[in-house]
Symmetry: C2
């Protein structure tokens, strides 16, 4: 029997949120998607740091991360593998777009089943395509995992199961990220990942991989990247808090091997 997702709203078991919540009306909030392994949320401090930084940038009062940890433990206890999604919205009401002067954020925690990816991805690497959807650029929102995600919904609607991920470009044509992952290219022994100062989501695993690479003595360069940069890479990999590192072995009609640097990163992160 598949367990049903369990939800806490402001710490209380619930299946609903207030109909005037600003998360619903305006995408006015943030979220985190966290791997739960043996009942414990993975990389908790990193997720909380990003959530706090996002709140500061949006002017949402800092959530009580202790209360979120209580939520996480309540929902995830005894679950071998699960996905914990945390949402913070600016709370209820206010007249139109204008935020209330004293917002009372809504805290939502949802625990759901671990996704079953095809074993093929771990064995042979991911198959990836380019999305037609281009991301608009807005440095004020860039990097933040906010709730206004319609671009990503429409990008993901472009394909079904025939690919494992789609790469997004911005309106200038630079490659930014996958719909639910960040991308790294390996070139002559160094790692390259797109600059996210104009759009995109700065993932927790992107940060973890960058730090791990530095510990391994590898150079990591963050910069605008073109489709040509990606085409010329020796190795290509995708990062995400749930699947951690996926080697890419096919991008449109181009094939990549699962290279030595990707293997080294995957192996070393397994022991992190």
């Amino acid at each position: 029997v598949t367990p049903r997702p369990a939800i806490l709203v402001n710490g209380v078991p619930a299946k609903h949120v207030a109909a005037d919540d600003r998360g619903l009306h305006y995408g006015d909030g943030l979220f985190e998607t966290i791997a739960v392994i043996a009942g414990e949320p993975r990389r908790w401090m990193r997720h909380m740091a990003r959530l706090e930084s996002g709140c500061a940038r949006l002017g949402i009062p800092t959530p009580d991360t202790g209360a979120f940890l209580d939520d996480a433990r309540t929902l995830c206890a005894g679950r071998d593998r699960a996905v914990l999604k945390l949402i913070v919205t600016r709370g209820r009401g206010g007249r139109g777009y204008r935020p209330p002067s004293a917002p009372q954020p809504t805290r939502i925690a949802v625990c759901s089943n671990w996704p079953e990816w095809p074993a093929r991805i771990a064995d042979e690497g991911a198959r990836v395509r380019y999305c037609r959807m281009r991301l608009g650029r807005n440095p004020v929102l860039a990097g933040i995992k906010h709730l206004s995600r319609l671009e990503y919904v429409l990008a993901r609607a472009e394909w079904g199961n025939e690919y494992d991920e789609g790469l997004l470009r911005d309106d200038a044509g630079n490659v930014v990220e996958g719909t639910v992952s960040n991308v790294f290219a390996v070139s002559r022994g160094a790692l390259y990942t797109p600059d996210l100062s104009q759009c995109g989501v700065a993932g927790i695993m992107r940060e973890a991989v960058m730090e791990q690479a530095q510990r391994l003595g590898l150079a990591v360069h963050t910069r605008p990247m073109t489709r040509d940069d990606i085409a010329q890479a020796d190795e290509l990999l995708l990062t995400n808090s749930l699947h951690e590192v996926w080697p890419v072995t096919q991008l449109e009609k181009q094939h990549y091997g699962v290279g030595p640097l990707t293997r080294r990163l995957m192996e070393s992160l397994r022991h992190e």
Copy 2:
């Protein structure tokens, strides 16, 4: 006694929506804000046409506009003046961003009090500023009144009551619209309004004003507009479904009169 806002969710009185609604999780939906006068929603057909067109563009099944009209009548009956907000989301669930293959849209109708704008605006015109926030450009989402509105929330958070509206520019510097209005400039007897093919919301009153202007024999030009174009205008006006037409008499440090063409439009729309 101020009446409390009343809400229908899928036609049923409710104060909550499902916690896994895609409107909340991804800003995956659309809305309309409609003036209610003497119990009847104004410009209903225009609002429904825009909602249907937005749904088609986002791949959300067309809502039952007859059911929405029933909602509107239930909520607005006997109300002299009120605001009706209609929301359609792609409904509940689905794994991540990927839309469900057979989405069941959520229909939300909220009736709230008519906003009390300062009488000064009608008497003397609106005071307007430029926002620091710049809109990202995405032609796939341009013109649609979708729920991913965080840019607008942050733009509106830039000021309090000292201005009546803020003008938004895109990331290339072109003037697009107000946070809750469209903008028209009058120059040598013709109307100019920004092109919305890259970003912005194509308002119902913008459409109504353009048609009314044409009936009055006035030329209307839609094109990219710079801050200079706005500065050099003879008259400036803002349109919105609730307040309809506001003359702008102050934009930052620049003053405009309430000109003859603005008066003519306001007068003729009153009898529309």
